[in-house]
């Protein structure tokens, strides 16, 4: 089941005009604040009625301005995970979890509740009230509440934005499990490239109320023309699998085209698919293979595109054995090295610059 969205909406002098299709899996709406992400999610949820357009989930039409179709939010069977959790303060955690279930069709397996509680690790919280929970606990309960409403689509509006780094890394794995273990499509709003890199099956990049790019995480994040947050936050995603573990605490990965990468130890079995996020500012370029250098990854590449920024910087898109990489260098270096499209160069990447948080289990095939 896929979600089709094509809407236009005008508010406060801002024109939103977008169309995309979210396939099964996790689709990230990626863009800076004010690019219209939350408006789109609220329109899908039915909390906002767009001026015109059509929204359909599988064969169920949620909104169609031409045919005057409008499903109110409570008939849409969605699970909306809000940035601020929005748990009901007067109900216990258990009552919060069961709230949506009460309105959902009663056809499910009885072990569903226990399974969700176990998956989210919230069994010790059940009799408490939301006021007594930490931010991370609240967000886990909110995820559970959305799941137990038996949604046909899960919406998540920057669910990690209100949390500190430690809480973020506590919640992120649950979204990975959601993506891999449920068959429900997920529409996930984010402005954090690291989240996009870890979670996205597909990415819809938004800029000024329009879709600037739509595709897989590797395609969208590896495109130097799509930098909704500026070149400073750009970074590509490489999908690889663990080849072997070295005795000195490094893990060797193999990506498409036989590309080898060394990164800090990832305690998973060889063969495990991984996704790593490589920030453009961590990649150096050399026209000749550097010798006597501490960086462990020296990757032969070909320049696919050069994009000069407005400031002193430039983004270089590289093809490393079929994998897309981005490098952020200065325009001075571009002219000093004489970099141009199609040129063979070497990308230099320190093993330790691949942060732990940027490594994630890749989406499981199928």
């Amino acid at each position: 089941m896929s979600l089709q969205v094509a809407i236009s909406h005008c508010f406060g002098g801002f024109q939103l005009d977008i169309a995309f299709e979210a396939p099964p899996g996790l689709t990230v709406l990626f863009g800076r604040s004010g690019s219209g992400k939350t408006t789109i999610v609220n329109a899908v949820a039915g909390l906002l009625r767009p001026d015109a357009g059509r929204i359909a989930l599988g064969d169920q039409v949620l909104f169609d301005s031409a045919r005057r179709v409008w499903q109110p939010p409570h008939r849409r069977r969605l699970g909306y995970i809000f940035q601020d959790a929005r748990l009901f303060p007067h109900l216990t955690v258990r009552q919060n979890l069961l709230y949506g279930r009460w309105f959902a069709p009663r056809d499910s397996r009885p072990d569903e509740i226990d399974r969700v509680i176990e998956m989210l690790g919230i069994a010790p919280l059940l009799s408490r009230r939301p006021g007594a929970l930490s931010g991370g606990e609240r967000q886990r309960v909110a995820i559970g509440r959305a799941l137990l409403a038996k949604p046909r689509l899960i919406l998540a509006d920057e669910p990690l934005a209100a949390l500190d780094e430690a809480r973020k890394s506590e919640i992120l794995p649950y979204f990975e499990r959601l993506r891999d273990e449920t068959r429900v499509p997920i529409l996930y709003v984010s402005h954090a490239p690291a989240e996009v890199a870890r979670l996205a099956t597909s990415v819809v990049a938004l800029q000024d109320g329009r879709v600037s790019r739509h595709g897989s995480a590797t395609d969208v994040l590896g495109d130097p023309s799509v930098t909704p947050l500026g070149a400073g936050a750009a970074g590509a995603v490489i999908e690889a699998s663990i080849l072997r573990h070295h005795e000195d605490g490094l893990t060797e990965l193999e990506a498409a085209g036989g590309l080898r990468l060394l990164i800090p130890s990832v305690p998973r079995a060889p063969g495990t698919p991984l996704r790593i996020h490589i920030e453009a500012q961590d990649v150096m370029l050399a026209t000749q293979r550097p010798e006597q250098i501490s960086a462990l990854n020296v990757l032969p590449c070909r320049i696919r595109a050069l994009r000069m920024g407005n400031g002193p910087g430039a983004l270089v898109q590289l093809d490393a054995c079929g994998n897309l990489l981005l490098a952020r260098v200065t325009q001075r270096s571009v002219s000093a090295l004489g970099l141009q499209d199609g040129q063979e160069v070497f990308a230099v990447l320190k093993a330790v610059s691949v942060a732990k948080g940027a490594i994630a289990g890749g989406p499981q095939p199928g």
Binding site: A45, G46, L47, P72, P73, H74, R75, R76, R77, L78, G79, Y80, F82, D84, R86, F88, P89, H90, Y99, G100, W102, F103, A104, R129, P130, G131, A132, R145, A146, A149, L155
Partner: protein, 230 residues
């Protein structure tokens, strides 16, 4: 009761009955009007708001006289109701109606404030989880508004207990039928040697008012604790 004479006891019992009914009957329309004023936009909203607050501003005698004109046996509504056996004029139900109308603004104000304090985002969350508007109201808005409803109800009860001007204008001062606490105190003060009775009723008034205040404090604290979820 040896503390109070039969006449005095009668006035106390009647007042309690009138105030209780005025409050209970006022609650459903009070919650509805408060919700409409807090959450809906509709033409005539300011007119409704004005109408609700009118008894607070008008001289009570005016309200009482207007009630007599509309709900009296010859009034347009009073006449029609009499046909089906409902009588307000010079009857304890009339006292309850007058007290209820006078207390209504206080009830609505308290409930409206607490409805406005409920985050609409929580109601949205309820809707996305499959609850229709009515269910969202019953399971989210209403429970979160409970402290305000309780505060409003107790305020309205106290106001209804003390209502004098509109009641005496509308339904007069008939012992056992429409003679509530304040009218009884007033009547006792008009006859020689009535001060002792009046003073006893004043003591009862103070006791009831204090009890209501303490009860409301205890209850609202307990509810607020439950609602805020500590």
């Amino acid at each position: 009761m040896s503390l109070l004479g039969p006449d005095e006891w009668q006035a106390v019992a009647l007042s309690l009955r009138v105030a209780l009914w005025a409050t209970l009957a006022g609650l459903p329309p009070g919650i509805l009007v408060a919700y409409a004023l807090a959450r809906w936009e509709f033409p005539g909203k300011q007119v409704l708001n004005g109408l609700v607050h009118l008894p607070l501003i008008l001289p009570p005698v005016v309200t009482g006289y207007l009630l007599l004109l509309t709900f009296g046996t010859r009034g347009p509504i009073g006449g029609a109701l009499q046909e089906i056996g409902i009588v307000f004029a010079f009857h304890w139900t009339g006292a309850a109606l007058a007290a209820g109308i006078m207390a209504f603004p206080l009830l609505v104000r308290a409930i409206r404030l607490s409805i406005e304090a409920v985050d609409p985002k929580l109601e949205q969350a309820g809707a996305t989880l499959g609850a229709s508007r009515l269910w969202v109201f019953a399971t989210v808005t209403l429970p979160l508004t409970l402290p305000g409803i309780l505060a409003g109800a107790i305020l309205a009860f106290a106001k209804a207990m003390g209502e004098f001007g509109a009641t005496i204008t509308f339904v007069s001062n008939i012992p056992g039928q429409t003679q509530t606490l304040p009218s009884a105190i007033y009547a006792f003060l008009q006859v020689p040697g009535g001060e002792a009775s009046a003073l006893r009723l004043v003591a009862v008034s103070v006791a009831i008012a204090m009890a209501a205040l303490i009860l409301s404090e205890v209850l609202s604290r307990r509810i607020a604790k439950r609602v805020s979820g500590a």
